[in-house]
Symmetry: D2
Subunit: 349 residues, 4 copies
């Protein structure tokens, strides 16, 4: 930590900062400049937070130097992690050597629609099925999901297809029931700072797919992962799904740079959601290819057998030609960037 | 609603849109332009949402014309509302005729600190006490609040000062206990899209202070209020507390325009939180004056008897001279813009 | 300046940084922490920039500590400045003791429209006339302004009303002719980083009204002012006019906090443009009052005798009742925050 | 265009809108809804702009339906364009079938540094040389470029290497001299709304590389291209270089979605600048691969023989291993997405 004193800070004010730091066992090294004095702090950073240094007289600014997250950082866990999803017999990896394709309907509407979407997804090369049973909707007047009934449909479809399922949990009170059915619990963008839910999900003993808050910095996102990790679960996969910016032509702006930035600082796997980022089906294929190019560990994509009838996010669901093009890209491109697709890996194993 | 067809849309595609609209009892009026055709929809808007028009072939765009919220809109409730906070004997209004000053510590730390902060607040003219017992913190390593113990302290301080209390609830499972102690339930910026919590709070039978999500559009914010209203509670006060932008010199950017924009479309009272918007104590007084000038119905401000020791947001807590200046502004300025301060109103009553 | 070394930085890398700093006469003070080493630099900051420290091996980050601007900073010019606009006989102040009301049409269209708008403005209390002769338009198909003909109209209106005029210059090649007619040169938001134009305007010998770039940080904005100051002209008035954010209900988001933030770091006067910030005429009055409340040194407002016929930004031009309400606010409110309105000041003098 | 009337608009107000539209030869089709009336306009859109419909009584909103740009739109020019850069003997294409690699130093500093950087670039597969002679710098105290001397160095290096050169022009007064030396004129991000410069560059008879304004929407960017096209030059290549957002870990946020969005609406080629988008050399390779994956027509990258000594943007210049990895990616990946690299194309020709 570095404390920057205001231009006119007095010697007494500087001494007060040094004394406060010493009071918690820290060491303060003072550099007096022509215009300003800066004080470097050495010691236990957590103890410095309690000092509230920014509120001391004469202090202009306090710069944090090291990352605030620990368990999810690469600093003490240099190798990038692989998270395995699904029952022992069908485990699918998400990690640095493979490229994992997750697909399915935005919302589970009926058993027929779900199995049909799952077959489409599987035919295109997907190895994990996504599908929402509990939907967080910005309007209280919109379809809110089938709830437990939807979870049962997903379990049946897993039975039929062999695909592990990932589904969202939106309320801490639902974690137990969702964990009973699902292979992976998803935290959606609107709950990225719902700390009670993050902790509860961390205790559920299932891998977690943590979407980035649409307005979260990368550091805040990793702190959200730290909440889950704190509860004893390091099987966390991050998912970049676009951030809110001024550009209106896409629903959100896919922050493609977040992939290498996260990979440089955290050991957790990271995938991309091109469907929700763009909100337009014509962007799903190019953004998926961008994700492969940039080195993401997978993609998660909306598919629907009949988007015109979809109860949720129909405009971005893929079908027909686009899905074939995506299937082809997922089959070929990962190899060109040194990856194996997850299906290939299963085949080899 | 207006459907904009793509430049090359065929007659069959146009006819299909018209037929879909008719299928739910709507009426579609087609205007063929030189380059594009636009179709105006007349009928029940909610039924049109289910049509997923954006997914139909030949459709380029769909513009919603009317507001998606109803209960909180001024459209059918033209007069601006007043929300009364506190027990019948000490009710404090927040609404269009008064200017209400809410103040207190960011977090309840001890009984002494809380009563001292309350006395400071009251001395400066505040009529409602704020104070956090449950704190949502971005770091799992930060102070999380005293919980129920904090609520008990707040109740004691209300007893001692006569000030109604507003405190945050961060988890749907805590709503009942918080509602038992508090006079007004606060939804914080990080829970602005936590729909389960919004509904639960709406059912608790106490007025609600709904902070804007730091990344929520005004429309999304009003939709969050609609969630609460849907649960049967219209005693909602909105609180603008800054949005996330690219400007780094303030923690958030106070969207001062939101006050008149909200007042033009919703009947709910709206106040400003200058402490969290700026994150700097030197901005609290000028931003409070801006809030009075723009026509806000009140402000909510952090005060702490000893910011240097604060466990939460010390850098933005007011003290000494600044608090005196704020007290003076709150006493004088509202009258200059046609308002009465809430204390004055009590006195007159 | 503070150099933060990467966690695994070697002693040789640290020594290399120290040596580079010493090579330009600086002094480096090394603090070795448990996880990281930080190096505080003391000496001539400008010489450190040439070192490109961020590119050195082992360097994780470089934090600038002091402000990059000098001439416009309060650091060596603690007292806030007043800029005087207009010929000696009619000089109008913009500065910390007064509140200056500038108004006029967005674009000069005809002599009649301009004189009529000027009379409206003057009647409402404005003491400086604004009006665009050269217009920067995002569409090449939009009205681009009358050019020199417009300047002549403005000069005639000044003659008739006695109001000094401020008008925009959009191209370095036009600076001389605009300076010949105008009393104050305006740099618009789209030219806030047009450094050639800034320098040229700085040399023109007339006060400058520098609008904030719609996407400029406050620091970048002050650096733009520094460009003008570098050319020998410190008669600069800053104008906050809204920044680009995700909120769609206003054209830009007025960053009201920028007023006290700028006033704390720069001695230059700062005013607010509520018309362009909101882009809606119903927001002009409340935002002007917010500007007065927050402590701005003035406002600049669009008025048009017949907005329906305006060739530019008609929807935000004030008329009738709104203008009367604004006139009243400008007459009364500044006194309530310790200011004199500029007309009053003239009267007293 | 669609005019949306306010909920309480009167029949007279509706009739007035219809009459105004008719007065310029347009046709207005009125749809009366339960809550609102909407009016679809058919006719010459440009004539409607002059009507200032938004300022009419009873009008709540006006939605533009068609794109405001024409010459750069795919609407009347469906096939994507190829722009050829360089003298007839060494022409390099930028367009839909190839992938063009442009590289060179951020700033031209000396003849030695420039030729060395050019050799590095060429060795890695680049076919066009970039290099700045006129630099727009946010600080008046930073290196501003060598000017004409820099242009002469670039011309010598072109002579020596055979690579066409692209260099920035920052002032309308310099267009003639830059056009004399350069093969392609670059408009930088800070000049994206400098309309006088855009027009001047459009008249210079050389291809133009138009960077996106860091805060420009895609529509505004295409309008800037329209300015150039209006001056008679359609040899425009767009360059996405990151937009300003709240995320601090990268200098800007690369808007990778802009590539397919632009390709869907404009026929102009579009490339990516991964160096300035991220501002970090560790991101250049992954972002370049993302650009190839998403379907960009090329990349433009900073290289410097000795970044530690660079006078401009040293931290993001590539060298050694990274450049080799980029070279390999540019050689192999484009084929995997159906592209030929521009060098390959030259070889085949």
């Amino acid at each position: 930590m570095v404390v920057v004193m205001a231009p006119g800070a007095t010697d007494a004010e500087i001494a007060h900062v040094v004394a406060r730091v010493a009071s918690v066992g820290g060491n303060a090294s003072v550099s007096k400049g022509i215009e300003r004095t800066i004080i470097g702090l050495v010691g236990d950073i957590d103890s410095f937070h309690g000092l509230n240094l920014r509120a001391l007289a004469g202090v202009a600014d306090v710069h944090r130097i090291s990352d605030p997250y620990k368990l999810v950082s690469r600093q003490h866990h240099a190798e990038r992690s692989t998270v395995w999803v699904g029952p022992a017999s069908h485990q699918v990896p998400i990690g640095p050597e493979t490229f994992t394709f997750i697909a399915g309907p935005c919302a589970v509407e009926t058993a027929e629609q779900t199995i049909e979407a799952a077959r489409m997804a599987q035919g295109a090369g997907a190895t994990i099925l996504r599908g929402g049973a509990f939907k967080p909707r910005t309007s209280p007047y919109a379809f809110q999901g089938l709830g437990v009934k939807g979870l049962e449909i997903l379990a049946d479809v897993r039975e039929a297809t062999g695909m592990p399922i990932v589904t969202e949990v939106v309320d801490a009170r639902d974690v137990a029931v969702v964990a009973e059915f699902a292979d992976m619990l998803q935290i959606g963008t609107r709950n990225a700072a719902n700390f009670g839910l993050l902790q509860k999900v961390g205790e559920a003993g299932k891998p977690v797919l943590l979407k980035r808050g649409m307005t979260a910095t990368i550091e805040e996102w990793l702190m959200a992962a730290e909440y889950i990790a704190q509860s004893g679960n390091l099987d966390i996969v991050l998912c970049e799904r676009g951030i809110r910016t001024f550009e209106p032509s896409t629903r959100n702006t896919l922050d493609i740079s977040a992939i290498p930035v996260v990979q440089a600082t955290s050991h957790l796997p990271i995938i991309v959601d091109p469907s929700h980022a763009g909100g337009r089906k014509d962007l799903v294929v190019p953004l998926s290819k961008a994700a492969i190019g940039v080195g993401a560990d997978g993609v998660i994509v909306d598919v629907h057998p009949n988007p015109e009838e979809a109860l949720c996010d129909g405009p971005q669901a893929l079908l027909g030609n686009d899905l074939r093009e995506l299937a082809q890209a997922v089959r070929r491109l990962p190899a060109a960037v040194g990856r194996v697709d997850a299906r290939e890996r299963e085949r080899r194993a």
